[in-house]
Symmetry: C2
Subunit: 329 residues, 2 copies
Amino acid sequence: MRDQVLRLLRERREEYLSGAEVAARLGVSRTAVWKQIAALRQEGYAIDGSPRRGYRLVAEPDTLAPDRVQAGLATRVIGRVLEYHPRVTSTNEVAKARAREGAPEGLVVLAEEQTGGKGRLGRRWHSPPGQGIWMTVVLRPPLPPAEVPRLTLVAAVAVAGAIRQVAGLPVGIKWPNDIVCRDRKLCGILTEMEADMERVHFAAVGIGINVNQDPAAFPPELRETATSLRAELGAPVDRAALLRAVLAELEAGYDALLAGRFAAEVLPRWRECSVTLGRRVRVTPVVPGAEVLTGLAREVAEDGALILELPDGTLRRVVAGEVSLRPEE
Amino acid sequence: MRDQVLRLLRERREEYLSGAEVAARLGVSRTAVWKQIAALRQEGYAIDGSPRRGYRLVAEPDTLAPDRVQAGLATRVIGRVLEYHPRVTSTNEVAKARAREGAPEGLVVLAEEQTGGKGRLGRRWHSPPGQGIWMTVVLRPPLPPAEVPRLTLVAAVAVAGAIRQVAGLPVGIKWPNDIVCRDRKLCGILTEMEADMERVHFAAVGIGINVNQDPAAFPPELRETATSLRAELGAPVDRAALLRAVLAELEAGYDALLAGRFAAEVLPRWRECSVTLGRRVRVTPVVPGAEVLTGLAREVAEDGALILELPDGTLRRVVAGEVSLRPEE
């Protein structure tokens, strides 16, 4: 009944809805309606009420509960099944476990808080409660494992596009898939997979977006390198609306990838968003002991590799590494 | 005490060892020794015994129990930890579970029988009890996922080398990693991995070798396409000795791979063993709907791809597919 009351309130956002009308339409007592309103207020819904005029939904709580996210979600597959947690260790870990159990393509695991959020290169990802989008999407692309890095570029383009669209912020992509604003990180993407040599069994695309954090609340070691949408815009962002936009963009890019339009559609958008190409960068390798490279970031290859022009003019393919846009530091 | 008695018997294979001497060396009663001998006979050890001369080990049971496999194992890492099962669903599944729990590099999961053995392309792998080598090796190579197919070529070269050495049979490798004799399959390799886009978390290299099956006992659908070492040689093969040789060859190839000597050392051996290169083949793709290709198998690329020359003379890279060496059928 909670959901039905909420639906009626949402339908009639502009005007008041009398308790008597709600009771009549749902076939319950006015006391029962009143109890549901009280429960919704408890959940954080701001519902204006007066004995004369009735109830009006003024504001919804900023949660990522499935009913809020899925209302108005424009996807066919991604996010149609959504597993929501107030708190998890890591959405990637939960999503991988679900995928191993046979979860369908498009499952989204979502959490208000991660206690052991993971970033690239074995790092932690700071994921405080209620302020970000911490999620993992399970996909089952019919691709060999060598082509999965493209999926990460698809995800970066989707997040950059969604942020531009919902928050109007001109964010960029730092190779391979960090979303940045003024060289500070807004979003990280960690794609994990299980595969044999011929096909991917599943990919778990983890996306962490710093949405409404107060930058002063970042841990000291992140204050210089991370930021949030709220910090950049000076105003909070509706997380559910942003999440819906990310899922819709992700599905469009994923469809393009599977239809063989990656080079024609995704790569040009990645290049257009890139803050790496054309700049002098330093690349620290992932494999211990390998060489640190400095050079001009020339191009991104179709498989996602960065093509670096070394000082002697030779080109070098970089498959994995940490890029610094300030090579002199 | 069983292991100590067995060790003494193995040390003195050529002559008889009196019960009194065993009892004295182990500091136990002659009755206790006699009980251990009875237990070993129960396990399948053939121990000759006479009241006057004592005991002599005539034959060991053909099991892959760790003490038999590890006696004389010449590796540093691979197979130093060995998990042995009379029966499992699939050694790859057990090995992946162990790897996720943090199992060390080099763990070998070994079974006398698999009830749900897996082959490439989602197929089943027939794994009857006591007649084959059904095992999975856990490795943690510091490589990006796109380079893991090389590991499968390393494994194919290792198995082919071990079979040539222990059984003296001139086996070949069918791309990418089947070991064949007279175009019939002796061994299949299924490598699975978990990875992010930058590094492999672990690879589970599953190896199934048909050793001592009676070919008449193969399921009807395999009789035309599979064979065993025993069928080819007309005599059974010591599975533990073959397994030790596979592990030693695998470690040598893996060391070469990690030391950057793949192209210099492994690939030439793969080419030398290949029964695919230089032949007209038909390649059926893994991805549903993709094109079936017929052409001349020209070369294997450094990343393990097959380079096919199509009838019009153009070259095509094949990353995944099922090769038929009889394209006209």
